[in-house]
Chain length 179, copies 2
């Protein structure tokens, strides 16, 4: 079971980036994202709407006390904080593969020092500044490989048929709705 | 040589996501990003400032006529459009490895139909909605592996020393400036 924890969400500034984080968590094999920072029903609702359309299971929830969420998770699995200052991510992913439950923590602008101490691992996807969306995707891809990208999401209403040209989508009720 | 082309940038809405795309392009081994859509000096300048601080070479430029940029590139290499509707990305990356010059195209909200026809390949990193930032990172990682993530950027002023706890940064003039 993989849970993603997004720290320090700011409603105005991070709306789109946090939504990207949630969609990446879902597409690359996590089963849940927990948002912390400013409470933001719009992001939670857009993730829920997307899961209704494209299938599940995936859930998004809010937790104001991120330390509580991290400490609770540490009782059942390993906590990996993605930061550009950390150790090489491939070695950390190899360690994480030995554990059943993994929490992946991604920050927004400024991550509190305590996070570095609370984490079982601080892992870096390269030591250059880039993007928590990219770090999350590449870490999950390294950890789980292609399987989550190829799985069928249960209860889908829309499903894409991969195609070399154009867009081919199956709708559960209407059949192929290519555009 | 790998060039990233970002289509349909919107100044207000895409500022942060486009910046993430540029930083991912730089960190994962592209040498250049071309922005299209609305002209936005602030994004170009923030990428240039980051490259001065963390090293180069990497360049960002603006091109209003994206079709011209794609057609010009097709004379010297292959053009790969990343879209959730495309063919599996790993097979496309295997093809792209045979070519010296690759242009990777990523869209914003709505990509013009012509792009699907102009591309040599339409490639999908999973067939679920997620993020162009993630798609770009995972595609580049699949294409080039870890080497770009481990390389030293020439002319850096700041450089990170990977660390299991906290932040360790070397500044060219001041030495280690851990925080």
């Amino acid at each position: 079971m993989i849970v993603v924890l997004r720290l320090g969400h700011r409603k105005q500034r991070d709306k789109r980036v946090t939504t990207h984080c949630a969609l990446v968590a879902r597409a690359f094999g996590a089963s849940k994202i927990i948002l912390s920072g400013e409470q933001d029903e719009a992001v939670l609702e857009s993730v829920a709407a997307l899961s209704r359309k494209w299938g599940g299971p995936f859930s998004a929830s809010y937790e104001s006390n991120w330390k509580k969420a991290v400490r609770a998770f540490k009782k059942k699995g390993k906590v990996i904080h993605l930061t550009m200052y950390g150790e090489p991510f491939d070695a950390v992913a190899a360690q994480a593969r030995k554990t059943k439950n993994v929490m992946i923590v991604i920050g927004a602008e400024k991550v509190p020092r305590e996070m570095y101490a609370l984490a079982d691992y601080n892992a870096a996807v390269g030591s250059q500044p880039h993007s928590e969306v990219a770090a999350l995707a590449v870490f999950l891809y390294e950890l789980l490989g292609k399987a989550p990208l190829e799985k069928e999401f249960r209860g889908w209403q829309n499903k894409i048929i991969p195609s070399p040209r154009g867009k081919k989508v199956i709708n559960k009720f209407r059949g192929v709705i290519g555009t």
